[in-house]
Amino acid sequence: MRRGAFHRGLTLFWWVVMAFLYLPLAVIVFYSFNAANSSAYFAGFSLRWYDKLIHNDQLLSALSNTLVLGIASSTLALGIGTLIGYGMYRHRARKLGWLIVLIYLPIVMPDIVFGISEMAFFISIDRQFGILGPSLLTMIIAHVTFQIPFVALIVYSRFVGLDPTLFEAAKDLYASPFQRARFFLLPTLKPSLIAAFFLSFTLSVDDFVISFFNAGPENATLPIYIWGAIRRGVSPEINAIATLMIGAVLIAALLSLMFNRHKQH
């Protein structure tokens, strides 16, 4: 009997936490359709803030910056990280403590220190040599730096899950290392590579602090734009753009769910 009550209590607690997690997002979505210029009251349904968004050039360029930054950095990180993951696996018998520390460094470093040290460093390079001033390039470099470890770890754990004899078989089957990579490594890795790419992309879109400190005048991303809009105090438009971003996240969640279901069957 007591067990039943305990269980019901836990279930109730679960729903309370769900409300806590989704209420702030729901409120954004709700107010994005608010006709009033306020989040203190609701004055009827309206699409006026979305209409404003479509005609906001800055916002559209922020969107394209976000996409370019995310795709470019994830692509680069995928290449570099996969190599590391592969190297770590092939040589896992060796003492690679130094490599592990180096790979965990970008993960554990507080992002404010991360962003500021790169900013200060790039600026001093810019002053000396006239390159690497704040721009999309410095942002891509910074993003790749924090994406590499995640790619490497995903690829590494995929390899660890493989039957080691597969590698021997591949060695017998294909003569050249290139062929082995082309016909054995890449196909086996494909799901992990896709997962790593999407994780990198998510991390890139998620980042605000590191982008903020390394962006040039033309490189505002969506998070930077939203930050600026909050600081300027223009509220209803932010609700609309944030709603679109939340929508994108929910779609991604649905896709990942379907992907997993598909894999299970």
Binding site: I123, P134, L137, E218, G233
Partner: protein, 357 residues
């Protein structure tokens, strides 16, 4: 085969983009304008773009510390025009962040009013050209404060405002000046003697339950419309501009110049030391100084114009308070002091202390 082409395409795009992004500063057809928020008429930008066949890229800041930080963080070689206030002009010159103007490229300079032509913060006006001028004062909700005193006490005295949320400003120097004025040492106070009690007052004010935050002059107008705060520090022109856009919400919001005195500021167009397009920047300054463009600008942003030639074209409301304060209030206005050296560092330590505690 298919995969190879995709890989190649990605590689090409990536490479091209990297090149393009590192070389973007060489693009001669762009002007990078780094300005306060809500401080430019989009029509003026369009007219300039059309006249010179260029594109204007605008970036924005809410406070002068923010602007200076961006300049130091590489912006000095990325922006063509910045618009700092008077008290930041000397330190920008001293630290080599701005360049001298070539006055031969700015024939419209003769349009500048006499009292702005040789300012104390930039003798001979070698580096700066006035953009707009205005005052910082208190904005407040007249429903909540029907009998508000014409005084800083609305913010600093807990007996005057017992239970309404209010904000101070993001820029430490304006807060310090306001606190000094309230304490009787004048808005343009300097030195430890005056600053220490002022910092103490701000600290006490910050710890009042009704203090809602340090909010800059433009965003506080949004907050007051939405009732997040009922009083704060803002600028006369931003107030008028927002009021014109949203007359209903501003029916019960007023702007006031406290009797203890407050700030008069002059915002100036300046060219960063390593601006990518200095020639175009000069053209832009000259364009803004044109009589009709200058008037259009002021009519849009609702600030008083330092442009003599523009005066005939100004809207009627720009020649009366609060855009142009009356004689008595004008006498109460002071420049914020330009700080440097030890004094600046002392000020920053005090302000840091206020923010931390």
């Amino acid at each position: 085969m298919k995969r190879t082409t995709i890989t190649t395409r990605v590689a090409l795009t990536l490479g091209g983009m990297l090149l393009a992004s590192s070389a973007f500063a060489q693009d001669a057809n762009k002007l990078y304008l780094f300005n306060w928020t809500e401080y430019m008429d989009p029509k003026i930008i369009q007219a300039f773009e059309k006249k010179y066949g260029v594109e204007v890229i605008q970036s924005y800041y809410n406070s002068l510390p923010e602007m200076t930080a961006k300049l130091n963080a590489g912006g000095v070689s990325q922006y063509d025009i910045i618009v700092p206030s008077n008290y930041y002009v000397p330190r920008l010159i001293d630290s080599g962040l701005v360049q001298k103007l070539d006055k031969s490229q700015i024939p419209n300079l003769s349009n500048v009013m006499q009292q702005f032509a040789d300012p104390s913060y930039d003798p001979g006006a070698q580096y700066s050209v006035p953009y707009q001028w205005g005052t910082s004062g208190i904005v407040y909700d007249t429903n909540v404060f029907p009998d508000a005193p014409k005084s800083w006490s609305l913010l600093f005295d807990p007996k005057v405002n017992t239970d309404q949320p209010f904000a101070l400003m993001g820029d430490g120097q304006v807060n310090m000046g306001a606190a000094c004025a309230y304490l009787g040492s004048g808005y343009d106070c300097t030195g430890a003697e005056a600053w220490k009690p002022a910092a103490k007052l701000i600290l006490d004010t910050k710890h009042r339950g009704t203090f809602s935050g340090f909010t800059d002059g433009t965003p506080v107008l949004q907050q007051i419309q939405r009732g997040v705060v009922r009083a704060g520090i803002s600028y006369n022109g931003d107030y008028l501009q927002q009021k014109r856009e949203n007359p209903e919400a501003f029916k019960h919001i007023a702007f006031m110049i406290p009797d203890e005195g407050t700030e008069m500021w002059v915002d100036n167009m300046m060219i960063p030391a390593k601006a990518p397009h200095p020639a175009l920047a000069h053209k832009f300054i000259n364009f803004i100084l044109d009589a009709k463009v200058g008037a259009e600008l002021s009519n849009f942003v609702q600030y008083a114009s330092p442009n003599k030639a523009a005066q005939p074209y100004l809207d009627a409301d720009l020649t009366q308070p609060p855009a142009l304060p009356d004689e008595a209030d004008l006498a109460r206005l002071k420049f914020s002091p330009s700080l440097s050296g030890q004094e600046l560092q002392l000020f920053q330590q005090l302000w840091q202390e206020v923010q931390s505690r």
